[in-house]
């Protein structure tokens, strides 16, 4: 199976631990990019190196996959999109993304179906869900435009900055 693939305008590839630190840090050090998860933005570059190591370990453990989305024309990293908590018994997984401000719906419309295609055809998964902080308007618009269906809300999932975080839950069924 080839984990790296491309669409007309974008390269979708697994990260390389000793090469992608700077680009990943540049993406994940923006608070607006991780607000919907929610998570604090990175503040030192070594966090990106640690993250790349974690990504590699989780991939080898068959529990998660992260792809970097690069624009072919200039090599700019536009997003990280991945799946985690892959449940091989239930054939479902959770998608998560961190999107550069340039990664708009037009980019997602080209990239996400290609990723879902891999999840359906190569990994044989049935259900892909996405959990985002309740009230994330932009995420909701993107997800619904990509045919993810809102299924409800999960209350008080954890505490972040002194507040209980509820998740809106969306999913798409494959196959």
């Amino acid at each position: 199976m080839n984990w790296n693939f491309e669409t007309d305008n974008y390269i979708i590839r697994l990260p390389v631990s000793d090469q992608d630190g700077d680009a990943l840090y540049s993406l994940l050090s923006q608070q607006t990019v991780v607000d919907h998860i929610p998570r604090a933005a990175m503040t030192v570059e070594n966090q990106a190196i640690d993250e790349l190591r974690r990504i590699a370990m989780r991939f080898e453990g068959r529990e998660a996959v992260s792809w970097l989305i690069e624009r072919k024309s200039d090599g700019q990293l536009l997003a990280r999109i991945g799946v985690q908590h892959i449940n091989w018994m239930m054939l479902n997984t959770q998608m998560q993304w961190e999107l550069n401000p340039e990664c708009d719906l037009a980019v997602l419309t080209e990239v996400v179906p290609a990723i879902l295609n891999v999840l359906a055809n190569d990994l044989q998964l049935r259900r892909v869900e996405m959990r985002v902080r309740a009230g994330s308007v932009e995420q909701k618009q993107n997800l619904e435009a990509l045919s993810f269906e809102h299924e409800g809300s999960l209350p008080s999932q954890f505490e972040y900055n002194g507040e209980d975080v509820n998740f809106d839950i969306y999913s798409v069924l494959l196959g």
């Binding site: 869900e129 999960l154 008080s156």
Partner: protein, 205 residues
Amino acid sequence: MKFTPELEFSGGRVKPLHYDDIDALYELYQHPEIPGQRPLQDKEHLNRMVDYSVQMAATQRGMMWAIEINGEIKGMVSGFDWQPSQLRIMMRVDGLPTLTIEEREKALSVCIDFLVNKYHIRNFGYQWIEGQKEDIKTMLLKMGFDQTATLRDAWRTGEKTFANVAQYHFISSKKKPVPKRLGDGHDDDYSPGQNLNGTSVKGGE
């Protein structure tokens, strides 16, 4: 070391899993109530489950009780996917066909009360899988759970068949614990994770 307590309720009690109960647990697992689950074949698996039940409770990953009614084991209450730092857990009850909905509710309720008061858990989830008894949903609503989401095809029932899952949550109204410095707070109300046999702990022996 003891982490899972015996808890009484009117008409029965819940108690930790024990190797002496393997035959009764095996009988329980001959009547799976979750769609797609097959009767257990190998009784030896239950020895490991009893081992795990102790390890899970000790490490705050889960807690399992047998439901005993008139001296007979008629079901199990399980807490799993326990996230201690996030004060949440998923609950599940498995019962023999003879376990009444009232007994199921009382057993689940007494376990939730324990987890609220001992471990300060606030968020209790419960997943009802399409095909389970409808009266379980009524029971959950009566207990204060709310249905918050319907997860499509989230439970696999066969090679290529799936069932929807209705997800319920009960959020305890008890205040969150106030963080203290390590080593402080040896009072009875703040001792999560400690051995129930310890003499300084409420409910200890």
